[in-house]
């Protein structure tokens, strides 16, 4: 089953690359269009260097074969850099941000969800549920400037933006903003799964044995974690999408910000590189989640 899953991710990736490639090329305007048109000879040379004068299908095949070797090509906008070099700097920043946010989302979300489920229908449960549905609803690009306003401008506790070479102070707000919707989603999921687990025959049996409530809850908690695994994929995808906003708003030099800039500058290779990178990460996380799921829940393997 795992082999089949891995095999399926290759055509998926191919669709991503193909769609992105032809979308970019179908668009009017090129990477070297400036306010003042370049000398035709210069333009021709530029096109030759970047191999834009060749037929489209050859460019496509050349890109694919380079990609297979892990080469994302030269950036059209940052002329002295290759896309790989740019990502080498940007990716660790985005990864650090994303991983911290994901970890935060899991810890806080699971804790809040389990807490609410253990006290189902109490005031605390209602509060957690309401906060979670607000968290799911609030868009990242609204939360980010509001937090900047409160903590950066009014309270002056944290910097409004900037990366500051990865200082913790600079990362607090971006991580919170990135994690917030996922915290809410995880809390919701955990709460519902745990309430379901508490109502299951297994929990009823444990209660019938007269075991303390603590033990029943612990068993239900373990069962509730299973559906969470399959949410990891969407959570990672959500965080990557969120990073586009968060990195743009907070001025963090990560992949998300590069992507928006690259798309605006018609930096074909850089934008493509970002799309490929995100697609690979999403597919990889989904794959890992599926595999983990099969190990945790033996019923899945039988299908």
């Amino acid at each position: 089953m795992i082999v089949q899953r891995i095999a399926w991710s290759i055509p998926t990736l191919l669709v991503v690359v193909t769609l992105a490639f032809f979308l970019m090329r179908a668009a009017p305007g090129g990477p070297f269009d400036l306010e003042r048109p370049l000398d035709p000879a210069v333009m021709e040379n530029l096109h030759r260097i970047y191999r834009l004068d060749e037929p489209l299908w050859r460019q496509y095949l050349a890109y694919l074969s380079a990609l297979a070797h892990g080469d994302l090509g030269p950036s059209y906008y940052w002329r002295d850099f290759t896309v790989n070099e740019l990502f080498a700097k940007a990716l660790p920043i985005s990864a650090k941000l994303g991983a911290t946010a994901l970890a935060l989302a899991l810890v806080v979300g699971v804790a809040a969800g389990a807490f609410a489920a253990a006290r189902a229908k109490s005031a605390a449960d209602t509060a957690v549920t309401a906060a979670a549905s607000l968290g799911v609803t609030l868009p990242t690009f609204v939360v980010a400037p509001l937090l900047q306003l409160v903590f950066g401008v009014w309270l002056k506790m944290l910097p409004v933006g900037g990366y500051g070479d990865g200082a913790t102070r600079n990362l607090v707000l971006p991580v919170i903003v990135l994690a917030a919707p996922q915290v809410a989603a995880v809390a919701r999921l955990t709460r519902n799964a745990m309430i379901e687990a508490l109502a299951s025959p297994a929990s009823r049996t444990l209660r019938a044995y007269g075991l303390p409530r603590r033990v029943v809850l612990a068993h239900a908690f373990r069962a509730a974690l299973i559906p969470l695994v399959s949410y990891l994929g969407p959570a990672a995808a959500g965080i990557m999408t969120g990073s586009v906003v968060v990195e743009t708003i907070f001025g963090i030099p990560g992949v998300g910000r590069y992507f928006v800039e690259a798309a605006l500058n018609r930096d074909y290779t850089l934008a493509m590189g970002a799309v490929v990178l995100v697609a690979v990460s999403v597919i990889a996380v989904n794959l890992l989640a599926d595999i983990a799921y099969a190990f945790i829940d033996p019923r899945v393997r039988l299908e």
């Binding site: 690009f141 400037p145 900047q148 906003v245 799309v275 597919i283």
Partner: protein, 343 residues
């Protein structure tokens, strides 16, 4: 049903509101740039005095005396040399006053008694960085969001229902192939594709709907397919088949009407996502373009002005949030009511 009530209020606010506010959404008031919200109309007494002092200095004169008499400003200007009456045109150009006229000319024209009507302007939500009424702009933005919500959903609805119903009804290999495609598309980082699409093909208004609809039909297709699969085995469909009704006719006549409940419930949940996506695009500067506006544009502008004009962020953010919250609330309720299986 609180969600429905809030939503209705917001819709009414956005649709009828612009007719009731004093300013058009693109009318610029240069004197009121980044004016904070104020419950009573501008200009206040202090603002009127400041505006008068400003005009007087441009006329190379000083204000000797000024008072507000109801809706009239009465003032006495004086200068060392005779005052050029043509300078009174500055009154008409300001946002605070109407055309001024001379009551009395004294001291060889070195003293001027004038009267000018005060132009009252109500800016309850303040003005933006260009001096435009934020309240009206929020209403227009809300309209755009509602339109995008409806049209984006319509695109997703047409594609999703057609695709899902055909796949579910055809079954077998065709169904397998069609659903595999959906699986593949699911794995794509779609937000990135929409951004590419918007950048590449210009920021055309219609394109927003197409791009959003093209992204959001996948869930709809899955849900409709599942429902169609179970409907297909029901007696009335089998009977229609036995009577030799063409497959297309069965789909339209017998299957589609039975999908309405599930589709409606899902639509209500899809709408906030579509609105959110449009605001997100507009926030990045890829959606609706000036002078037209959208909640995403307003939030983006607010985010740029948080240091000196926080109301530009707070009001649009509050409107967008309550709109999305109400829609989600309504969607959850509808789903519980119409689709009891999936709770």
């Amino acid at each position: 049903m609180a969600g429905a009530a809030v939503l209705l209020a917001i819709a009414l606010f956005c649709l009828a509101g612009p007719f009731l506010t004093p300013s058009a959404y693109d009318k610029v008031y240069p004197d009121y740039v980044r004016m904070p919200p104020l419950l009573w109309p501008h200009p206040t007494e202090t603002e009127a005095r400041e505006a008068l002092a400003h005009i007087a200095s441009r006329m190379r004169a000083q204000v000797a005396e000024a008072w507000l008499d109801g809706d009239q400003l009465k003032a006495t200007l004086h200068a060392d040399r005779p005052i050029d009456a043509r300078g009174l045109a500055y009154f008409e150009r300001s946002d605070a006053f109407g055309a001024a006229n001379i009551l009395e000319r004294r001291d060889d024209g070195r003293m001027l008694d004038i009267a000018a009507p005060v132009r009252r302007l109500w800016l309850p939500a303040g003005a933006d960085g260009n001096g435009r009424d934020l309240l009206t702009r929020m209403m227009i933005a809300g309209r755009i969001s509602l339109i995008v919500g409806v049209l984006g959903c319509a695109v997703a609805l047409v594609i999703g229902v057609t695709y899902g119903a055909v796949a579910g009804y055809a079954g077998g290999r065709i169904d397998m192939a069609m659903m595999r495609l959906v699986d593949v598309l699911y794995a794509l980082p779609f937000m990135f594709f929409v951004i590419l699409l918007m950048v590449m093909f210009g920021r055309h208004f219609v394109l927003i709907f197409v791009a959003i609809g093209a992204v959001e039909w996948l869930d709809m297709a899955r849900i409709v397919r599942g429902q169609t699969l179970s409907l297909k085995r029901r007696e009335f469909v089998v009977a229609a088949e036995a009577m030799g009704v063409r497959p297309a006719a069965i789909l339209i006549r017998h299957i589609a009407p039975n999908l309405v409940g599930v589709v409606a419930a899902y639509l209500a949940l899809l709408t906030p996502r579509v609105i959110l996506l449009e605001s997100f695009l507009s926030f990045l500067g890829l959606g609706v373009q000036e002078p037209l506006t959208s909640l995403g544009v307003l939030v983006a502008e607010g985010a740029r002005n948080i240091e000196d004009a926080p109301w530009l962020l707070i009001f649009p953010a509050a409107l967008l949030t309550s709109m999305l919250y109400a829609l989600n609330f309504l969607g959850d309720g509808l789903r519980d009511a119409l689709d009891p299986r999936e709770r």
